[in-house]
Amino acid sequence: MKSWMLNEADIDRIGLGVGVLGTGGGGNPYLGILMAKAQLRQGRMIRVILPADLDPDAQVLALGGIGAPTVGIEKMEEGNEGERLLRAMEAYTRRRVDAVIADEIGGGNGLAPMTTAASLGIPLIDGDGMGRAFPEVQMTTFFIHGQASQPAALTDADGNVLIVTQAKNPEMLEKLMRAGTVAMGCSAFMATAPMTGDFIRRYAVPHTVSQAWTLGDTVIRARADKSDPVEAIVRNTNGKLLMRGKVSDIDRRTVGGFARGGLTITGLDRFAGRSMRVDIQNEYLVAWEDGRALAMVPDLISIVDSDTGRPIGTEEQRYGLRVSVVAIPAPALLRSELALCSVGPRAFGYDFVFSPLGQSAEIQPVAAFRNDPADDVPFHARAQLGEA
């Protein structure tokens, strides 16, 4: 089994990459980067393994933060939230959890399971349930492919734990989780029903931690050798540069807790004379030019600083920013008929069918070429311990 032991430089690269994959949403990864580094500085390790190396019977727990960003930056995490959820889940299911995975790679949640992986010494799976960011809990490839709505658990920094033992459907689970989050002071940590290794191998979007790392690495290298970081992102993702220009108009409003609106980008340089409109619903959803949708959800639309390649979130946009709009083909798991019902244009209220950009780029998992020695107990041996 190949392993990838994260170091601080890796965390910086992943932190940058999850911003690109966040497609304008997903929350700021800054505190997640600090927390992961704090673990490494305490001598702990974050070991990333490939989904394909999971024992089919292994138990995998998906973790992520939920709540109001304003609260999250003030009442920050205590650090044992993930461990508490994992123990509660083990106690309830009477099964040991063998590995953790992110629900959502895009934005801050892409780093959320790292603290737990480090403090418990269990592997982090190189993959996630979205391959990007989406606004709602149930929009994961896990739920799309039949992950159970229960049990699910919620905890806060104060040590409270809530277990949902029954939820009629993922939408109801989302409602219950939101209510619990409010009771916990509007910032909480969440785990959904444990999944088997076999399920993760089939339905997790594979190698997205590696994808985030590669994106970050590409941008950092381009900056260092003074080449174009935007071109580097495009090349790396089999993506398309839709527009390079400046933000010339923004309209933004909050509807039912979600940011909605759009922005207009006026072309510069070789895009001079053209203009593009990008719709926002927490994330960048559809990119329009001359009334034609050039890219649409679930394909990824990322807007980055034209000079530095730094991803720019929807709330950061303002008139005059020099930006590039990059469209990245969504992973295959999001492009199936089944997935499009949950995450295609119609799921976001558009009256048209998904027209894909093309094939997503093959991601080279970092573990495959790094192949760091892992000195702890081999994972498959632990997984076989199976039931607790």
């Binding site: 505190l31 009442k75 995490e77 205590e78 650090g79 909050t254």
Partner: protein, 517 residues
Amino acid sequence: MRDLLRIGVDVGGTNTDAALLRNVDVLATIKTATTKDVIRGVSAAIRSVLTAAETSADEIGSVMIGTTHFLNAVVEGKHLERTGVLRLCGAATRAVPPMIDWPQDLRDLVDGGAHLVGGGVNYDGSPIAPLDGRAIRDACRQWRADGISAVAICSVFALVDARMEIEAAAIVAEELPGASISMSHRIGRTGLLQRESATILNASLHRLGQETIAAFRTAFAEIGLSCPLYLTQNDGTLMTAEFAERFPVFTIASGPTNSMRGAAFLTGLSDAAVIDVGGTTTDIGMLVGGFPRGRSEGAAIAGIPTNFRVPDVFSFGLGGGSLVRSEGGLRIGPDSVGFRLSEKALCFGGDSLTSTDIAVAAGLIALGDPDRVKHLDKALIRDALGQMRLRVETVLDQMKPGPEPIPAVLVGGGSMLIEGPLEGVSQLLRPEHFGSANAIGAAIAQVSGEVDNIVSLEGMTREAAVEEIVKEAIKRAVEAGAAEATIIVAEIEETSLSYLPGNAIRIAAKVVGDLAL
């Protein structure tokens, strides 16, 4: 009413400017090279401007100083005091310990030991944990043993309820008599880690603040000045010397504000772009309602992320001393001969082609010996002027609030480099005294008070909540030296917090008034 004479001084990286004003009339301005010993340099500048205006020191009613002194202390890691950190948080926040994102060298200098203890509140004001007085006393004993006498206190959601910080400060004052204590609710905004870092910086600068103010007082006594002393702070307003001793960190990002305020004063414009061209860099910012527009994200001070509201200024390497190279494509800056312009530039007999030489050759400015730049290629001059103008236009366009043309003000010693008209500018002004707009901005500065709190509207109307916040802001302005009768509300910003129930809103208020004299 007696005439009001005041002196404004702006200490920049290259030059120290001073201006002497009678009411709103500029009597004299002078420019001197910034000295290593800032206090001595300020004294010298004040002496020269007094001489230039033929005024004696005892006629001066007040002196306002904008200085990078405290910023330099942090950047150079000098004169910083080791600081103990008290975080009131209960179990929460422990995954992100204090100073985790500081550069290691600064952390080594300042970190006097952090204690995370019971306390803090939730967004709705309910306690996370009761304040743990015993843990605070234990922390103080530890600090006492380590010789720590500066303490920063930061509570979770201190901006919702500051009482635990105040209570903790009282305990620390009891255990560590004479310690300088900084509380986060007086320093920063929402965002625990950044507010905490700003509070730690303030505590660690406290002693330098006292020493600096004392040194200024001694130096002023030598000149014969007996008037009050004020320092300009990050938003371009003033604070009394006494206030600056307690909150030195508020001066730390005050650099670009003074010229912007000066530009507003000199042109009478309250909404305009300000283009400040210095010796090495150009700063472009926006005046909104007479004050610099703030940046939405916080400022990093010497690599330390904080959440100070600082002017939204775009700085780039173009100034009067910028080197001009024509081999392999025309390049101007970002390197500059800086304060050595008068020995390095061609027009002064030097050997470096600078942007000033281009301006002299183009006849935009009479400086040095024009014959020495006569040989310069006409196309080069045209291209260089075009490139400088284009760079200003591009940045200006990024800073503007929208596509409509707006007025712009050119200030700073290097502003002769820019030849109008500029794209996107409705009216381009270069006022009299443009070279000393920064010192004039310091001299005419007002006093402000600012509060940025999260309040729950349960059991309270929105109006009552705003009124309470404004009242607190006025209290702070008076404390900083404002005459209460002159105070007006400059800014009220309400933000509803997404995903939060209970009608929690964030209210930020800023009031400004004239100096109480």
